[in-house]
Amino acid sequence: MAIMRMRDALREALREEMLRDERIFLMGEDIGLYGGSYAVTKGLLEEFGEERVRDTPIAESAIVGIGIGAAMGGLHPMVEIMTINFSFLALDQIVNNAAKLLHMSNGQINVPLVIRMASGGGSQLAATHSHSLEGLYAHFPGLKVVCPSTPADAKGLLKRAFRDQNTVIFIEHTANYGLRGEVPDDPDFLVEFGVANVVREGTDVTIVGYSGSVHQAIRAAELLEQQEEISAEVIDLRTLRPLDMDTVIRSVKKTNRAVIVEDAWKFGGFGGELAAQIMERAFDWLDAPVARVACKDVPLPYNRNLEFHALPSEEDVVEAVLGMFKE
């Protein structure tokens, strides 16, 4: 075990996987000489050379498309979209090709590709640079969607992504890059997809989060315990596709209440999917309607106080939980 930041854990995962498998190469904007916008790929160009660490033009559609074509050509590429905001420019390649080729071709074509993207608001970058689109990508069958919240999970899930024969959308919340945590140094350390993490056990309410929102959930659980004597169980989904609903349902059947926390918009969002599945599978166990704490239904503003009001906070989560205990 070593204590490291999430960005360093991600780099360790890339390094170890590149050493293990020569078919893996990296491609993206500023990932080589500059070391990556969030320094995840720093030093990898020096270690692996230009053949395996490719700087690209700013051309998201081609970057992803080349990754798809190279995967069809027998390689296992990792392409980095600098931030998830720019992935809109590559949506056709992701949705129409990466996600569908296997099914459309009757299993002839698989696309083992890892697409990494930085996600999330809270950095005063305003509306075009603050998206949380985990749920959007989870909407498409054929994609796997991974969104770690800790350095250890980041490493284990990213390494696991390179053992997958499908396209994995790997989403890293920018607020998490600097987070420190214990990370196993075993090169065989993997975190399996579709296995949620019960971060904190509790008995009164289940708080479900993913990516950045796991941390609001944890802080809210601490506040609830200290101030309200409410025992909250916190679940980190880790991956949205595949989705470990069993763990969520088991928890809800124990606590009889569920709150979903996400940085994305509530309307048409992933939280709605979770709420619906809880309703379908645990209706009779619920003592209150499932609550959702999410981004306000507006484009994210630049101004600090407005942005703060738009994004969900631990206080919002506490308030939602308390609402469930009112008569």
Partner: protein
Amino acid sequence: MPLSAETLRDLHRRMLRIRLFEEEAGRLSEAGRIPGALHLYVGEEAVAAGVAAHLGPGDQVTSTHRGHGHLVAVGGDFRQMFAELFGRATGYCRGKGGSMHIADMDLGMLGANGIVGGGPPIAVGAAFSNKYRKTQNVTACFFGDGASNEGSFHEAANMAGLYRLPLIFVCENNGFGEFTRQDRHQAIRDIADRAAGYGFPGIVVDGMDAVAVYEAAGEAIARARRGEGPTLLECKTYRFFDHVGVRGMGVVYRSDDEVRAWRERDPITLLERRLAELGILDEAGAAAVREAIQAEVREAVAFAEASPFPDPAALTEDVYAS
């Protein structure tokens, strides 16, 4: 150097295979026996044949929504192709892909693509993998004049030039982006000019002349195999049938005279004339080739129509690879 009789016969056979497949597909579509949208390749056969004749094992092709010709040109199996158009379990994609998504990975045909401009980035990626694995293989990227206006084409061409990748961009300029004439969708005449913006050569060739396409493609592919990077080969050609199906939907967007003038330069007629002049294949010889392919078409259609539809269980298979 003049082409060998064998090469000329091969080109003729590839083109005729495309023509007869497409004419039958068109008839079946008009008769309502094949569902969906068919974008037929009739008129453009010299392009696919002239390029495919240079490709071998390990080489790849990316295709378009008008993709049947590319697959036939590289050796696609009529039975599996017709079965796919009929949506049957014996089709290339078990009826899940249809006309616009037909693929044969064993032949390096990486798939027709239902999205205009979807293919070029994939072609560049395939070429990247060839270079990365240090093979001598090349990728041929077919696209149309319409796709040459898509951002994805420009992004892909830029990166292919930047990395000097082993591929050729084959522009099938049939004069129309769907129903919009070229001079109404771009300000340039020669799409080959666009190659200059990406640091590789662009060549214009008569896309109705199979020999001209064969020779130009040969040079471009040899250049790619030598590691000298991509070439944009613009083939001026024409769509004898409509954008979708055979006959128009009643909207006049081109004149009968125009269609007639292009049909006078039918690529198969032109090649057959040349073969006859060279004493390689006379009228009776050409008719025999035609009849053999027609028999293959008839047999394949019968096979396809007699094939079962896929079992409902197929629906949920191959969403994810294990």
